[in-house]
């Protein structure tokens, strides 16, 4: 990250919001000259932000640009080194998120920040439970909870533990909670990362309603179409600096991207049409592979140098299929043979020794070792493969780490930084690097581009095809259809925990995938 | 044909183990069925045990109380259930009518005997004493300290220069004595070591030897309990005196009980076991042989 502390030169790209904006009547919240440094690393350098009532304000920037940090400062989770925040023209100094909440600022932080051990109700109402005779009124809360969640088309057992629901559901609950809390401002830090289209639609609907009610809404995302679809004004950060703040009207996609990256992005989608080249020799074959109660038996042959995209609705069982293929859950039926000989996956070790790799979907829980350094996080899988005896010495570790930090453009102050301090997207890259370091022959990526900025997104997509050219076999689970289309040489579709369709060649286009997912003439697609 | 409940404190020391095994042996001798309950050093467990015995309707209850206070309620229940209770190795502060008798040593006297021996031995020579106390707050520690101090009270030439707790254990006894030796000019200033029990004394003796001094000559060693190992030390000339605390409290207790059950003969309230002083003159080897079978 930038180590030069000179303040952003006023002549930097874009026009800053007028200094007088504090006086402006419909300005709800103003952050001025915010500076935040972590150790010797400046995450935010003299950043301004002005939120107007009844506007959706998109906050954009690459991974590590400082978006989440800015949010955490506005909501009192971090305290800024410099700068001031005022709500309705009154200067405020939140020291705890609680104060921000009671000031009418509802927030969905980036990683789902809820309480997995508590019920849905508790998560929705904690801190403001309705009370009767001093005791919390569970009945009332249950009724309320159902009402709230129904707006998002979610009909679940509100008395069940949160941890029993998928990331998607948890995300929706987090959003619902924030919306309920927001009297003036609603802040959504990458809320749509793990939602599918229908759920995103519902969310946008609600956001528009709140906007009509005159709330100011901050919306952080890496999906540019969503930006153009929803937001009225954008503010772009780059490397902790304010690049500019403009109304959406004056912008087109490319100039927006230029603002974010500081350079033009060679759009990948054009350059890589799905190729129909016959995939080379078969690598492995899952024969009626399955696990009762989790994934119905499926049949899948995987060739060297092909990318198999996996599409399906949330909860269709894609992740569970992946876990099965990697030996995290053990299959109780069917068989796997690689190059002809039969392999049985009892544990991930077996998979890894076969040259498998797996980037899990839930980065925080299953992916990163938060307190360990970026370097250790990158080399650990490789080290595990080598075994405990032949340890990589520090220099070897550095070399490998530096290589991948460079190759994947991982934004980190140093390779000694605890990985938990990296921005969401960069953490994802670290995990990818971890598996590439083991140079695998078969890689499973579960939602690899979730929460990753346009630049990195493009890089990862490019990388996927590069890996394929190197003869790797990949399975990529993704909820973004055009992404799947862009790199898959074959697409399999899952529904209700079973593999229902397989599309190749010309069939690989969003509409036919949607049809397959939606189960319309899925058989025809076969 | 009698069934008797015995609530023992626990098994924190060799002496305690010996008392337990002697009690069992005595009961066996008399054809008594003994129900044994170990309280793991916890008074509440002892109370539970006594309540349990009452609920089972035993014929009598032996208790070795962990502490003097807090027995009134449960003993009242025993009385109401007409079950005689006998206290072992310590009295309690509760109305006398709540128990048949208490068979115990006089812990203050034990300390006094030890102190008097020291006074007699050193005569008029100035003598700095270091004291290894028992567990802080435990009754024996308090009483044995008290008795010893009474005995040396008159003597200007004898003074306790250092006093620390060794928790009645060998290891701590040794560690504490090591500290004392350092603190008192390598031990040259110390003339006697008084330990509240033999285990600590044995530990202390080793510390003295490690410091290059001769226990028993350079530093006099006097302690309490008369467990086998101290007699070995005595035989080797490394210990000078110990005061006996007999593990056989049950013998007298059961005799008294038998008499009481046979013809309602009220025994005297306090049966005090004698606190006999042993010195190298009293055939330590023989004493060792005599004791080592008793489960110390």
């Amino acid at each position: 990250m930038p180590t030069d502390f000179r303040p952003a030169d006023p002549g930097s790209v874009g026009n800053r919001p007028p200094e007088t904006s504090g006086a402006d009547a419909n300005v709800v919240l103003v952050a001025k000259g915010i500076v935040k440094t972590f150790g010797n690393h400046t995450a935010l350098n003299n950043v301004d932000l002005a939120l107007h009532a009844g506007e959706v304000h998109a906050l954009l920037g690459e991974n590590g640009a400082g978006k989440s940090t800015l949010i955490k400062i506005i909501t009192g989770a971090y305290t800024p080194d410099h700068g001031e925040i005022s709500v309705d023209g009154v200067q405020v100094q939140f020291t705890t998120p609680q104060q921000a909440q009671s000031a009418g600022i509802g927030t969905v932080y980036q990683e789902v920040n809820l309480l997995p051990n508590m019920t849905v109700i508790d998560n929705l109402f904690i801190g403001r439970q309705p009370r009767r005779y001093g005791l919390v009124d569970r009945k009332k809360m249950a009724r309320e909870a159902h009402r709230i969640l129904s707006q998002y088309g979610l009909d679940i057992d509100v008395h069940a533990e949160l941890s029993t629901f998928s990331v998607a559901v948890q995300q929706i609950i987090a959003i619902a909670r924030a919306v309920e809390l927001s009297g003036k401002v609603l802040i959504l830090d990458e809320p749509t990362a793990s939602l599918d289209r229908t759920e995103v639609e519902k969310l946008f609907e609600i956001v528009r309603r709140l906007k009509a009610r005159g709330l100011a809404i901050v919306f952080i995302t890496h999906f540019l179409d969503q930006v153009f679809e929803l937001s009225d004004r954008i503010t772009v950060l780059r490397n902790g600096r304010l690049v500019g703040s403009e109304t959406i009207g004056d912008l087109d996609r490319t100039s927006l991207v230029r603002m974010m990256l500081g350079k033009d992005l060679a759009f990948v989608h054009a350059e890589m049409a799905a190729d129909d080249t016959e995939p080379s020799s078969p690598l492995m074959h899952f024969r009626d592979f399955g696990r009762s109660g989790s994934v119905n038996p499926f049949d899948l042959t995987i060739h060297r140098g092909e990318v198999i995209g996996v599409a399906g609705l949330l909860g269709s069982g894609r992740t569970e299929m992946a876990r099965l293929m990697f030996g995290i859950d053990t299959a109780d039926q069917g068989a796997l043979d690689i190059d002809g000989q039969k392999i049985c996956l009892r544990a991930p070790q077996d998979a890894v020794s076969q040259g498998f790799g797996f980037c899990p979907e839930d980065r925080k829980v299953d992916g990163i070792f938060g307190d360990l350094s970026v370097r250790e996080n990158i080399i650990i899988a490789m080290q595990a493969k080598l075994g405990w005896l032949q340890a990589l010495n520090r220099d070897e570790q550095m070399e490998i780490a530096e290589h991948f930090i460079e190759a994947l453009d991982i934004r980190t102050a140093s390779d000694d930084l605890p990985v938990k301090l990296l921005s969401g997207g960069n953490q994802q890259k670290v995990i990818l690097a971890r598996w590439l370091a083991t140079d695998p022959r078969f890689l499973i990526l579960d939602e690899p581009t979730r929460g990753i900025d346009v630049g990195a997104h493009a890089e990862i997509v490019r990388m996927i095809s590069r890996l394929r050219e190197d003869g790797l076999a990949l399975i990529v689970i993704s909820s973004e259809l055009d992404e799947i289309v862009s790199y898959s040489s074959r697409v399999v579709v899952m529904r209700d925990r079973s593999l229902v369709a397989e599309l190749r060649g010309a069939e690989i286009n969003p509409s036919s995938i949607v049809r397959a997912i939606a189960a319309q003439d899925a058989e025809a697609a076969e | 044909n009698l069934t008797i409940g015995f609530s023992q404190i626990g098994s924190e020391s060799g002496w305690r183990a010996a008392e337990t095994s002697v009690t069992k042996a005595e009961a066996e001798k008399r054809g008594i069925k003994l129900k044994f309950a170990d309280a793991q050093q916890k008074q509440e467990n002892q109370i539970k045990a006594i309540r349990g015995f009452i609920a089972q309707g035993v014929d009598a209850i032996l208790v070795a109380p962990v502490v003097a206070t807090g027995w009134e309620n449960v003993l009242t229940e025993a009385k109401e259930a007409k079950i005689p209770v006998i206290l072992l190795d310590r009295g309690i502060d509760a109305p006398k009518d709540l128990y048949l008798t208490s068979v115990a040593s006089d812990q203050v006297k034990e300390g006094r005997v030890a102190g008097e021996w020291l006074v007699k031995t050193v005569g008029s020579k100035p003598c700095k004493v270091v004291e290894l106390q028992g567990t802080v707050g435990s009754t024996p520690a308090i009483n044995r300290k008290k008795g010893f101090e009474e005995a040396i009270a008159g003597q200007k030439n004898i003074s306790i220069v250092r006093s620390q707790t060794g928790d009645f254990t060998r290891a701590k006894g040794k560690e504490v004595m090591e500290g004392f030796l350092k603190a008192e000019n390598g031990g040259k200033d110390i003339c006697a070591m008084y330990a509240h029990n033999d285990d600590m004394a044995v530990g202390g003796i080793q510390a003295i030897k490690d410091a290059g001094l001769k226990p028993g000559k350079d530093i006099l060693v006097v302690s309490i309990d008369a467990v086998p190992d101290i007699f070995q030390a005595m035989a080797a000339g490394e210990a000078n005196a110990t005061v006996e605390l007999t593990p056989n409290m049950a013998g007298p207790a059961l005799d008294a009980l038998a008499a009481f059950l046979k013809d309602k003969k009220q025994p005297e309230k306090f049966i005090i076991t004698e606190s006999k002083l042993y010195t190298p003159a009293d055939d330590p080897k023989g004493e060792y042989e005599r004791r080592k079978g008793l489960g110390y």
Partner: protein, 326 residues
Amino acid sequence: MNPRYRPLAATTLIFVIAYGLCILQYPGMWSTRILGNFLTDNAFLGIAAVGATFVIISGGIDLSIGAVIGLAGVVVAVLVSHLGLHPIAAFGIVLTMSALFGAAMGAVIHFLQVPPFIVTLAGMFLARGLASILSQDSIPISHPFYKTIMDLYYRLPGGGRLSAIGLLMLLVFLIGGLIAHRTRFGSYVYALGGNPTSAALMGVPTGPVTIGIYALSSLLGGLAGIVYSLYTSAGYPLAAVGIELDSIAAVVIGGTLLTGGYGFVFGTLIGVMLQGLVQTYIVFDGTLSSWWTKIAIGVLLFLFILLQQLVFSAHKAGTRLKKAAA
């Protein structure tokens, strides 16, 4: 039934079965006497364990309970027997002091970020130390008020006694249950145990809650100390040594996770009763030597935990739990 309650149900079932087996072997154990004793003899442990339950649900631990019990007893004894205060007044003072003591520990834990294990260990040393400075010997309390309270009991058919302190314990469990499951504070405790960072981001006032939790634990420790002093009508600096482990064991046997976030106050009651059952069983057996007693306790503890583990894993398999069971 909500799967959350399964471990609780299991623990209860285990207790019932265990008790049944005991009765089969010693019919004498099926008597109101024994049942009454269960309550009376475990009153102070139960009360302390309620506090421990809150601490453990919040992901912390309190090793100072036993020492606080000892200290509280001694202070009461000194106030009543030496300074001639009326017990009620003494109780008031002691409860306030212990609450403050706990609050102080909570403050250190929250503001200095020192692990609870260590803070409360220091607290344990401190409390024991203070107690033994106040008095080395145990101080008898012979205030008429004490007699009246201990004579307060309801005689059950069959000679059993429902004592005042036994009922007090049940009351504490009731209130504890309400606080844990039906108040905001209670939900904050669970939140803290679930994930402190998230809790803070969701607006849980972590500081006050932490302080409150340890204050509550010590307060109940003080109350347990008072009960202990009633139970033995004395104050003894070495009272209730090692009770913290017993209460933690009770809490855990009661189905609460030491990693925090999951647990039930009622389960703790079962845990306490199970321990009482073990003690009573050993007394009824009466053949176990000191060492076999220890071994037996260990083995039984193991069996309970094992049974519970089986249920737990079943429970987890039931609900699709991707999260790491840290």
